[in-house]
Symmetry: C2
Subunit: 339 residues, 2 copies
Amino acid sequence: MATLADVARHAGVAASTVSYVLSGKRPVSDETRERVARSIELLGYQPHAGARALASAKSNVLALVVPLGRDLYVPVMMDIAIAVTTMARRFGYDVLLLTNDEGPAGIQRVATSARADAVILTDVGMEDERIAMVRETGIDAVLIGVPADSDGLNCVDLDFARAGALCVEHLAGLGHREVAFIGEAQGIYQRHIGFAERTLGGIRDAAAQAAMNLVHRPCGASYEAAAGVLARILEERPRTTGLIVQNEAVIPSLLSLLRTAGRIVPEDVSIVAVCPDQVAQQTSPQLSSVNLPAAELGTRAVELLMRRMADGADGEVVLIPPTLTVRGSTGPAAAASRG
Amino acid sequence: MATLADVARHAGVAASTVSYVLSGKRPVSDETRERVARSIELLGYQPHAGARALASAKSNVLALVVPLGRDLYVPVMMDIAIAVTTMARRFGYDVLLLTNDEGPAGIQRVATSARADAVILTDVGMEDERIAMVRETGIDAVLIGVPADSDGLNCVDLDFARAGALCVEHLAGLGHREVAFIGEAQGIYQRHIGFAERTLGGIRDAAAQAAMNLVHRPCGASYEAAAGVLARILEERPRTTGLIVQNEAVIPSLLSLLRTAGRIVPEDVSIVAVCPDQVAQQTSPQLSSVNLPAAELGTRAVELLMRRMADGADGEVVLIPPTLTVRGSTGPAAAASRG
DNA sequence: TTGAAAGCGCTAACAG
DNA sequence: CTGTTAGCGCTTTCAA
């Protein structure tokens, strides 16, 4: 590969001049710049990433830490990863993929080896052990999710509490008084993952406010799990007319089960989900839902990170306001009572 | 951060000695090694990745190129990414995530900037334009998928032709003579993605062999698409008793539709899928299926890559033999005919 | 078995 | 506006 020195020689200028036309960090005459540009083009020159990282003390890489398990909704993770990568490129950054089995040590490794300039954490728990490592190493970081103590941290997330409340308010407005919340798998709550706890909190508060009877049922991804949970709900609380669902994996099973049970949606039972719009639009009937804007989370995380690296300001929590779209899966509770 | 020089000073040895205890590339006395190790530990020393890359001309990074779209089954991609990352770490490599919107240019960029030592390509088409770039830059590469001309290339894939054949043979063995293949979205075939074409080929050949009547119907991911495709199959070929499905996203919809239509699985219609075991086990009834071993693909790709980087040998195509697991979704065709 | 020293390719003062 | 030069932290000859 051609080096910067090759380019300098070819263009008849000093190495620093080439460096400066590349970085724009000091003025270069149009003529010189053009000549250098031509040489770069001609020689197919690309700066050596390692050399640059060494000399500038900046790797232009950011690390994205993703969970391994399958208990988090995978397409959301993937969308976040793609969005982060795409947006990072716009700022000249590459993205290093870190799995969570390295744990906090992975963060330490990339931080102290200068492999990455910053990290983006996903799957953030209320008490997340990785945060201590972020603080210790002092590496720039953005969390997708909000821990219990977000002091001084940069966080981006959907306002899940509000999202939950929106679901409740929507159902309450339609006259539903007996509602079940089919949530994420038990493991998610046990790990105190922020979004799950916050959604639950938002739902509970809003339900209390609306004098609505609410039960929360965690639910695994399998058809059997869904069947079990639904059966139990219908048995223990036969007057249930509203379902809030936050486990995207379970949606198809749920719809199928209701159909089999002869419960028509939304005449007999209304469903409102917290999931990506794309998922809500793929079912029949399409689901009334609060959108989970996965790509936006990734995009905003990178934007926030770049802003912070530039201004070095203190932590900031960006909560994206949720929006509920009414589709075909919710209707007045009156209809159900009439039956 | 502590540098190698700091460690050397602290241990009272030359910098080179520290380097050599780290790399093991030349013998170091036990005593010296211990002393250096202690200093490393004490100072929390981590080699600077950029400096190392510069001096050694090796980045210890490999790039993973993933598609952006949602037309490929996302959980499979994610499993591959996780497996690649996990296995790469075992060899001391980090993984850079590249999205396909940079196209071949992305490969060129990481290759010529020495950001990565090798690339792993996914979503490989029969005529994949990225291959030319791999050849041009001479970067080490492994493809997950097999292009039409795999000459000199390292490829890892499930033997999809055989996988398709297995499905046909299973159904044929049960007496099914009228079978429909519900495949990937049209776009996948238009892009000539290898695995889709090979599965189709394997199915067609085996069907001809078995004197089976076969239709191929590409199918999008939405419920409506599934409904349309299924309705058309049942209308045009009412005697259809067997379904082969290769679009995992459509499976829940399909099962739901059949249930609604009063067609019992497997009494009225048998279904065999090509999908991850986990998906097949999550439905009711569980699906007879050929496993799509996503994680294994990733693992094997890294292993093959490491072997190649070590021995520099020529291209090799690793085809993983498929296995079919009989579950509850397939039964004798006789039952259907009786109806 | 170890040390000294010359780069790897680039950036960023410092000079002019 | 441009050139000179001193590193960045590591690997790897070359010497001992």
